[in-house]
């Protein structure tokens, strides 16, 4: 396939597609026909037969969401679901942040009695679990759900009903664990829930079961969205969007989706085995019965280290988009940037043992993971240099999104340097489980995800809402966050080197850690204040911000070609891409493809490499079944915490809802 396509003029290929779809002329290789070659049904209204306001209104009716609660719960519009995903992930970010503030208050002075040891254990577990599973994984996917179809020039995400289902499963799983916490049955064994501490002998009761089942919820949702992302990117791109014209943000989300698909099953396996040890008496992790406690750590960290990159790689997409737009030039080193993303994705699977350096593994075995851990700095370094070169050679405009990217450079590089220190076995053995490690991974994760994320919110807020965020509040937000972050986490390097362990609810005054901890708590207060400013900015700007227009930043990618916020159909006519920055190449008129149905939900399916229009395919209508299926799944999962028979009895409603969802109803287009 690859070879046969090579001789064709791919750049010119984008041009005949509108004609082909319009006239129904055969395309592609001689002798190779597809459904798209069938002549259009003359009774069906197509977008070359109407124009202007009428076309917009008709398409909005076809692709719109019905009013009312049933309509809202049935929606399959990627923008509505994406917006819900983003807001939910931010609510979990705030909850995770509040639990961190509570911990910092407790640690502000020695022998503080503000929070007892049991609640403290629950707090750090909820903080880590929320940030990693309920915020870190979903936030990247949430942005993809909203933005990918817009950036790729299509009208919805692939498997749109699965998208709705995955959101509800994620929401219910996250709500479940936070309700458990509020009822004082929140998990208390750390975000990784190591055995034997989390096993039946040392953690009786239901706390760990809630943790393990929450993993199942979020992983089901995460993998489902990742599959949608992969299919959307490979098969639903606008005609002419060859692999090397895909926006860098989309590449980041694609690599991220592959990591999710291959990494998350490991932690689901670990959590299911843990539940079985706890509920049905298996002994996977019980050495006394031939099990292996270290097996749990291997399974967990085979997910856990790629998880770091699941959090970081979407941020490389946000940074790339912001740097290009505000530098006013295309990305310096597009190919090295994509190469780095792909290489990082692969390498992220060969680092997990560096989380287990103190478990007594042979030094030779550990050295292989040291090598990979150190060399992953190469692709990450390439990315940093490409972004700096883009800024250096461009005409940077320092608006709030770019300020957050600047903060990202400083903080993430500092975190990367301490990461290289930790990749060394002797250093890691010395500082293992100390506050030094806490400092390191907060520099990497907050620097590598949260700062770019905040920049991304300022950048795409006009697209989400149609209004601009306040620049003045944005600058306040940035400086409070940047200074507050460094005051909070930099001293932790020192407290860690002084020997302060992680996950202790208090310490003695004689240890000499009091002053540094007080400084960290003051910094945390400043960081908290920065988020208050952010929240005020979001709420006020959403109501009274200046109107944005379609492309307020004069950006080059396709999401800025449509209105802000976008109409249900995204585009009245599907754009044809002839350049990596289509809106910069066609400043006045964007070439479009015509011939799609106005009355039915029709999308273009394109070829994976060259982005040739290949098929016209139906996109799913709204349906309540994904919501009902998510409820049935939730009942089954939560019930199985209390009895394994819930899997059997819960299977019935789950099956019924899935049957309702998948039952062949005929496609509206075929019945027309």
């Amino acid at each position: 396939m690859t070879q046969t396509l090579a001789p064709h003029d791919v750049a010119l290929d984008a041009v005949p597609e509108p004609t082909r779809l319009l006239t129904g002329q055969p395309a592609g290789m001689p002798g190779v026909q597809s459904e798209a070659d069938a002549p259009p049904d003359p009774r069906e209204l197509r977008d070359d037969q109407v124009d202007g306001q009428e076309l917009t209104a008709r398409l909005a009716r076809t692709w719109g969401t019905r009013k009312g609660i049933i309509g809202a719960l049935s929606t399959v519009d990627h923008k509505i679901i994406g917006r819900r995903y983003i807001i939910t992930a931010f609510i979990f970010l705030f909850l995770g942040g509040l639990s961190a503030v509570a911990m910092r208050m407790q640690l502000a002075r020695p022998e503080s009695g503000l929070i007892g040891p049991d609640l403290y254990n629950q707090l750090f577990t909820m903080h880590g679990t929320t940030m990693m599973f309920l915020f870190g994984v979903p936030i990247g996917e949430a942005f993809a759900v909203f933005l990918l179809p817009l950036m790729l020039g299509t009208r919805n995400i692939a498997f749109a009903r699965l998208n709705a289902y995955s959101y509800y499963v994620y929401l219910f799983g996250g709500a479940m664990i936070w309700f458990a916490f509020m009822l004082n049955i929140g998990p208390d064994v750390g975000w990784f829930a190591y055995v034997p501490l989390s096993g039946p002998e040392f953690s009786p009761g239901k706390r760990v079961d809630f943790w393990a089942q929450m993993i199942t919820f979020t992983e089901v949702a995460g993998i489902a969205v990742a599959v949608q992302i992969v299919v959307t990117v490979f098969k639903m791109r606008a005609p002419g969007m060859t692999l090397d014209r895909i926006p860098l943000f989309v590449w980041a989300e694609l690599v991220n989706a592959f990591i999710i698909i291959f990494a998350l099953p490991a932690v689901v396996t670990a959590s299911v085995m843990l539940i079985m040890d706890r509920l049905v008496g298996t002994h996977f992790f019980n050495p006394a019965e031939g099990g292996d406690a270290l097996l749990y750590q291997h399974l967990f960290w085979f997910f856990g280290h790629p998880e770091v990159y699941i959090i970081f790689i979407p941020a490389t997409g946000w940074v790339s988009a912001i740097v290009v737009t505000f530098s006013r030039r295309q990305a310096f080193g597009y190919i090295p940037l994509v190469l780095s993303m792909i290489a990082t994705g692969f390498l992220s699977f060969g680092l997990w043992v560096h989380h287990m350096f103190t478990t007594g593994l042979p030094q030779l075995g550990a050295s292989f993971f040291t090598a990979s851990s150190m060399l992953i700095a190469i692709p990450n370094g390439i990315q940093i240099f490409c972004w700096i070169a883009t800024l250096w050679d461009g005409r940077p405009v320092f608006r709030t999104p770019l300020l957050f990217v600047m903060g990202f450079f400083f903080i993430f590089v500092a975190g990367g340097l301490s990461g290289i220190m930790l990749a060394s076995v002797p250093i890691d053995a010395q500082v293992h489980d100390t506050m030094f490690v806490v400092a390191h991974f907060h520099y990497v994760l907050i620097g590598g995800n949260v700062f770019p994320l905040l920049g991304a919110v300022y950048y795409w807020f006009p697209k989400f809402t149609g209004r601009m965020m306040s620049e003045r509040l944005g600058k306040w937000h940035f400086w409070l966050a940047f200074i507050g972050f460094n005051i909070t986490f930099f001293p932790m390097h020192i407290t860690g080197l002084m020997g302060m362990p992680r996950r202790v609810y208090t310490y003695l005054p004689e240890m000499g850690w009091g002053n540094l901890n007080l400084i960290s708590t003051l910094g945390a207060t400043m960081l908290f204040a920065s988020f208050v400013v952010f929240l005020v900015n979001v709420v006020v700007s959403a109501r009274r911000g200046a109107l944005a227009g379609p492309n307020p930043w004069d950006a080059g990618t396709l999401e800025w070609a449509t209105s802000s916020p976008p109409l249900p159909q995204n585009f009245d006519r599907i754009p044809v891409v002839t350049n990596r920055e289509p809106l910069w190449a066609h400043r006045n008129t964007l070439p479009v493809v015509a011939g799609l149905s106005v009355e039915n939900r029709e999308v273009i399916i394109s070829t994976a490499t060259a982005g040739r229009a290949d098929l016209k395919e139906s996109s799913p209508e709204p349906s309540i079944w994904p919501f009902l299926a998510a409820i049935a799944t939730t009942v089954t999962f939560i019930g199985s915490i209390f009895t394994p028979w819930a899997i059997v009895w819960g299977g019935l409603p789950t099956t019924i809802t899935l049957l309702g969802w998948f039952w062949p109803k005929g496609v509206k287009e075929d019945e027309a």
Partner: protein
């Protein structure tokens, strides 16, 4: 096979490099107890073989790049030629993973496998 060597395969490096590195990591990690017990330094040998496999992938990608059709012409951003793009990514990834594999092999020359 001969056709592959002459015409190349643009994506070969993307698959060969990481696959060779995966085998190198897993095989070397599994071989550590054997190396300790027998004191035969087999890890550099595994690394050399896997590095060769990775480089072969990079070579096929390179062939895919230089034998690609001269058309279509790139757009103003240098894009629009996805096979050349994939081939260059393949070469780069193969080289990077070859470097990682070689460092695995060097570790096998430094340690004798019994250190804890």
């Amino acid at each position: 096979m001969t056709g592959w060597l002459t015409r190349g395969l643009p994506s070969a490096g993307i698959y060969a490099g990481p696959t060779a590195w995966l085998i190198s990591t897993q095989a070397n990690y599994a071989l550590v107890p054997w190396v300790c017990a027998n004191q035969i330094r087999i890890i550099p040998l595994v690394a050399v073989m896997m590095a060769a496999a990775s480089l072969l992938g990079g070579f096929l990608s390179w062939r895919g790049y230089i034998t690609a059709a001269p058309t279509p012409h790139p757009d103003s951003t240098g894009a629009g030629r996805p096979h050349r793009f994939v081939a260059l990514i393949g070469v780069g990834i193969a080289l990077l993973f070859t470097a990682v594999i070689i460092i695995h092999g060097i570790a096998g020359m430094v340690f004798h496998g019994c250190e804890r």
